[in-house]
């Protein structure tokens, strides 16, 4: 006999549902799949064709999980995208900004590094704090069943915002084609985008692979 319950439990990545409720849903959907399968068999279909018909009832497991979540959760109107993307982005951005402010407020001096004849300032204490916020962004997105691309975007959001800000300066950089401005722009990209992105990514790495469900199953 096919273990539909095991399949549903594995594939349905619902969030924030109490354990009893989740068990009920898994059992109920498994029964529906089993009855669809049995019904197809009774019509003379092969085992393989019957399984295919039963699975067609579901379509996309992720969509089903999202719809069940929004139907069952008694919380406010926060939708899946808000929970799995915008909220982690906001927290990561806020964390990184507050950390930078705190670093400056505490009087921690940036280190001046000379590249050729240009001095570049590195906020090491701030950069050291970034892996925490990168990890928070990726973790919150994964917890809300966000895809890997969403986890990546959430954890890198402070660097992405800086990248946009840097590109707003591009007309000034390109005007007149000053070598000094171009070098400053390049160093700015490394200093405020490249290195922070690497620090954020470092913290996010453990949360970029696997789903919340697989983590739970391992536990």
């Amino acid at each position: 006999m096919l273990d539909w319950k095991k399949l549903v439990r594995k594939r349905l990545s619902t969030q924030d549902l109490p354990h009893g409720t989740r068990d009920d849903i898994v059992a109920e959907l498994a029964i529906h799949l089993d009855e669809t399968y049995e019904h197809a068999l009774s019509k003379g279909l092969t085992r393989g064709a019957a399984i295919k018909i039963a699975l067609q009832e579901v379509g996309d497991w992720r969509v089903l999980a999202t719809e069940i979540d929004s139907a069952r959760c008694k919380e406010g109107p926060m939708n899946h995208r808000t929970k799995s993307f915008w909220l982690p982005v906001l927290i990561t951005l806020l964390g990184a900004s507050v950390s930078l402010e705190a670093t400056q407020f505490a009087g921690l001096q940036p280190q001046l590094v000379w590249v050729g004849n240009m001095g570049v300032t590195f906020y090491w204490p701030w950069l050291a704090s970034l892996p925490i916020f990168g990890a928070a962004g990726a973790y919150l997105t994964r917890r809300a069943a966000g895809q890997t691309s969403m986890r990546l975007a959430a954890c890198l959001s402070p660097a992405l915002v800086m990248l946009v800000a840097m590109f707003l300066l591009l007309p000034w950089v390109l005007a007149g084609f000053h070598l000094f401005r171009l070098m400053l722009f390049g160093l700015g990209l490394i200093n405020w985008v490249g290195i922070p992105a690497a620090a954020l990514l470092l913290g996010a790495l453990p949360f970029l692979r696997g789903s919340r469900l697989t983590v739970e199953m391992k536990q």
Binding site: I31, L33, T36, E57
Partner: protein, 113 residues
Amino acid sequence: MPKRIRSKIARGSADLAILSLLAEKPLYGFEIARQICERTGGALKFTLASLYPLLYEMEKRGWVEAHWQANAAGRDRRYYRLTQTGRRQLALSREEWRSFFHALDALAGVSHA
């Protein structure tokens, strides 16, 4: 055989279809889907993915109540029963759809088409 109704129209009428069935007797998910398909001649079809989110939403709103019950073969199934709130909602839905059909009929003459 009636033509299969497009998903947008079917989705709009889903609450009415499910509540109407449950007003007759408590049913479980698979049976709800089967009866809707059978009684509409296949014009309305619910899959697992389209049915259960609706049932859970109705349960959250207090229109239906669910309980596990074993059938004669000892197999557990989750039966849905209409509540008083659900009956009021059904009456409201019927009235809304009646008005809608009257309006559409006056405009497009659907009952004579």
